[in-house]
Every structure is written in C-alpha cells, then in structure tokens.
C-alpha cells in the first residue's frame, strides 16, 4: 500500500513562446509514491514552479504523460480536471492567495463546499479544527485581508488540507513564515504524510526543510538532476 505509485510524470516537455521560444521543461520524469513527502529544489529559474503547475493539472499546455493512480490526466477536459483538483489536490502557493472579503474560516471551507460531500455544519467544524491545528483558532472569524502575511499563509495551508486531498502541492509554502511557523508547517506536513498517507510535493528554498523530507528532487535547467 505504502509503495503504490500515486503520481507519475513521464517525459514532460514544455515550451514558453513569449518573448522567444524557450524550453522550460526538458523531459522531466519521476514517480511519487503514496504518502511520500517530496521536496522540489533547485536554483531560481530552473523550472520548479512551472513543473508544479503541470503536475497540479492547472497547466495543460505541455507534452508528455501525467498519470494519477493509473489514470492518465493529460487528455482530460478542463472541467473534469477542475473537479479532479477539487477532490484530490490541495494547493499552497508561493503567495498566499485567499479571498480577501471572506473570513479565514470561510476561506478554509470553500473547497469543501465546492466538493459538496458533507453538510455545512460538518465542514465548518473541520475547517475550524484545521485552523486550530495551525494555531489560528482565535483568528477564524477575521476577514482574510485583516490577517498578517504569515497568518494568511497558514490559512491557505488549512484550506489546502480541508478536503483531505491525496496530494498536497506547495510552492514555497514557508517562504513567508518565520522559523517557528515554518517548523509548525513542516510538522503538519510530516504528520499528514505519515499518519494519513497523504502525499506532499513542495518546492522549497529552505535546506533544513528539504533535508528532513523523504526525498529531494533537484531541478536544474528544466531537467531533474540525478544524484
């Protein structure tokens, strides 16, 4: 069970055409097992974010195959992919993107309300639990735009966890956090991958963070650096 492959990228190639034709991803291929905690590292501009958008199905403009649990994602339609993301993928972006006019609690609830598998009360309760887990129990009813950067980042993480997605993807999720909160986030990621078997793929520039993960994938000039 633990060794089952959940996500498989096979020879992913992507070009940017603006301003000039430029190959960002030059045949990226790797496999991630269920419950694995993977750090994606590499120099700035090496293509980490670009790869993450492809893996998350947000970006469909690439060549190569992306497989999730033996299902090929590469040829699915936009609307199918949207439903897929809602259920199976949690996101934490480099910049904390919350809906500013919603409370922290409502922000966390949104993906679950969209999934529409539980009652509003259940969703509210588990959203509140998630916020408490990230030390934000007392900020739950504050509007998102009234929170500090680090608090917003943690709300975004709580939101990424709400649907208990199979994979959580992060683009420098601790980039805006102090060392104490970085540690909190790391511990949560560590725990959910170990206890709940959720897979984590996260870009990070933090060497300590990376070194404590199960595996490090290093990007270099659009390719994976084999160690």
């Amino acid at each position: 069970m633990q060794n089952k492959i959940i996500l498989k990228a096979d020879n992913i190639v992507k070009y940017f055409y603006q301003p000039d034709k430029f190959q960002v991803l030059k045949g990226v291929g790797f496999e991630v097992k269920r419950g694995e905690f993977v750090a994606l590292v590499g120099k700035s501009g090496s293509g980490k974010s670009t790869l993450l958008y492809v893996l998350s199905t947000l970006d469909t403009d690439y060549e190569g195959d992306l497989t999730f649990n033996d299902t090929l994602l590469s040829n699915k339609k936009q609307n199918e992919l949207a439903a897929f993301r809602n259920e199976h993928i949690g996101f934490v972006f480099q910049f904390h993107y919350l809906l500013p006019e919603f409370s922290a609690l409502e922000n966390v609830m949104i993906p679950a309300l969209k999934l529409n598998k539980k009652s509003k009360e259940e969703i509210e309760a588990s959203a509140f639990d998630n916020l408490k887990l990230l030390g934000l129990g007392d900020q739950a009813l504050k509007k998102a735009n009234k929170l500090s950067g680090g608090q917003q980042q943690r709300v975004a993480i709580a939101r990424a966890l709400i649907n208990k997605p199979s994979i959580i993807m992060g683009d420098e999720p601790t980039g805006n956090l102090d060392s104490k909160n970085s540690q909190v986030v790391f511990d949560i990621f560590r725990e959910i991958s170990k206890e709940r078997g959720q897979t984590i793929i996260t870009v990070t520039h933090d060497d300590d963070f990376a070194n404590n993960c199960d595996r490090i994938i290093e990007m270099m000039d659009g390719k994976i650096q084999n160690k």
Partner: protein, 413 residues
Amino acid sequence: MASYINYRISQIHLTSNIRQTIVAMLGVIFGISMYVFMTGFMTGVNNAQNDLAFSSLAHVRVYNDRPADNTNIVSKVFPSTVVNLRHPKIIKYTDGIKNSNVILDALKSQKDITGVTTQVNINVFFKNAGNKINGSVSGVDVVNENKVFNTSKYITEGNWNELKQRSDGIFVSVDLANNLSLKVSDNLNIFTSDGISKNYKVIGLFKTDVASIDKSKAYININAARQLIGANQSYVSDIQINIKDYNKTKNIINQITSIIPYKTESWQMANQQLAAGSSLRDIIAIAVSLVILLVAGFGIYNIMNMTINQKIREIAILKAMGFSGPDVTQIFLTQAIVIGIIGGFIGLGFGYLTANLVNKIPFELAGMSTLPMAYTLKDYILAFMFGLVTTFIAGYIPARKASKIDPVTILRG
C-alpha cells in the same frame, strides 16, 4: 448544478463593494423607470388624442361612397382612342343608405361591436339675422349617439336627452353659437343646399375641444333631419360603429364588408395623420427607452468588467481549487441578474412615481387639466423583461470572459 458556494461568492462580491453595486443598479433603475415613464406618457398622450378624436369619430364608419369617375366611358372600352367630351352630364346617383334596418340587423350579430348609431348628416348654412355660417347638421339617434360618442360628456348647457322628444330642438357648438350670438332658447334658421329653410330652437350647447367641430356643428333629432331633406324613415347617411379594441378595425372591416354593400372605413383610413402620429409617438417612446436601457446595459457591462479585473486573482485561485469555467460564469452572471432584478423592481416603483408626478403637472389644453399618463401593466412587465434581458447580456459577456481566464498566467504573478 447551482451550488451554495457559488451564490455565496456572488453575494460577497455584491456586498463587499456596495457602492459599485449601487452604481450598476442605478443604471438599471434609471433605464427601467425611464422606460416605464416614457411609454406611460406616450400612451397617455395617444389616449388623450384618441379620446379627442373619438368624440366625433367612430371606429368604423359605413357610408355610401360616390361612384367612380365615369366622365370618360369611351376610353374604358377603347383605351387608345382619343376622346374629346365636353360638358358631360352625370346621372344623379343614389345618396345615403336606403335599407339601413337590414344592415343594422346584420351588424347586431357581430360580437366585437360595442355600439352602433345612425346619422343623417347634412351640409347647411346657419343663419341668424344677417349672419350666415357654413357648417353641418347631424341628425342623430339620441341614445345610441351618446353610447358611441359619449356626446353628453361634451354638453355645456342643456340636457342631451331632451333632443329625443324635441323635433324642433337643436344643440349648437359653443363657438358657432358665439359667432351667431346665440343663447339657449334662441331661434336658429337652417338653410339646406336644396334651398329648404327651417327654424329650430337652441336647447343646449356643446364643446368638444376640436376647433373645427366647435365652429361648425349642430345636432338635431334624426327624424327631424329626415324631414328636413325629405327622406324616408329608414334613410341614413352614415352608420357609425364602435368596437372593443379600436386598434383592431381591420378584422371587423374584413368581416362586415362581405355583408354590407356600402363603403366601410376605419378611423385609421379616415385620419391617417392621427394613426401615423400615434405610431410615431410609440416608436419614439420605445426608441428612447431602449437607448436608455442600452446605456444602462453598458454601465453594467463596464462595472462587471471592472469587478472581474479586480478579482482576477480570486478567479484564478478558485479555478486552482477546482471551480470550473461554468462555475465562474455562474458566479458573475448571478451578480448581474441580482442587480437586474433588484434594480428592475426599484426602477418600476421609481418609474411609477415619476409618472404620477408628471401626471399632476397642470396642462390646460384641449380639455385636459394635467399632462396625460397611462399606467399599463403590460408596459411595466415589458420594461422589467427588457431590463432583465439587458443585464443578462451585459453580465454574460464579462462573465464568460472571466470563465476563460487561464489561472496559471495569473498565479505565476
């Protein structure tokens, strides 16, 4: 398909920037209230105009038309012949409607007819002492005349029904009476084109506010009129018919021309400038209102576009979290429709108030005391529908644009 969270997001968007929402709504309110007011006003003007016209005009008139031009019969048989006819004598044609009873019976079976009256109209000179004025006397069926033309409404002195008993009585229009220096119970001499002269007693005055009528018309009993020209008991010159909806004269004319051997003429045919004026006012009202609605539509379109540009990152994040294109369309279209519905209802109320207010502005002309106004449920419903369609289109275009936003480009920053 419709989901709670989409509505919730629409709601937050609408309420978080309430000023923007109100500005968008004001556009709709203005558009719809103007629509309601303009159409109400124009319909009011048309109604007032028609009321005025229908004081002397029936919806359909049946009369004996003069025969076609037969002065050159030869050319009808030999078209290429050059003919020189001098002083042609025309055989006297039959005047008026002889067998009026048969026709009246036939008309009774038509169900859309609300009133029928018969008239004997005669061109005469009114004479009082030295004064001589050209005009017309209408011999009328007193009761039915009132049903069709509401004549008693225009009586300023005297009692209309008195004309029933008084074969020597005459109702004279006010200006005509003035010009002849006549008062009630004075005598008035009438002189026909056949040279017959007869005296009548003025038993009342009337005023229609149609100047040409007020200067030249008088009413006498229909039997008195027959006597005056020596016609028999069933002779009439005109049969005047009113129907339920005066716009539907075409139908009734089609039905009765087949059973009546005389000319049938609708009020539209007789008064083309009146019908044209009516239609033109309607067109102006609708054109102006639609332009205003269009402008309101542009307002909504702009504001929706602005909202979407402001919220472009939110849209991207929603898509990243699994909201589909149709979800995004729904979120923004809902906002436009809510603005349309609320703005629409307020617009109807505001339009009604404006109409009411304008309806109170004094306007003393042609028998009116204030500016005319009509309150037609159909126009209110139509205004609301137009408003809704406009906001739907104005909201749909930006909403669709929003649904097509590529989240990656936005999120990459």
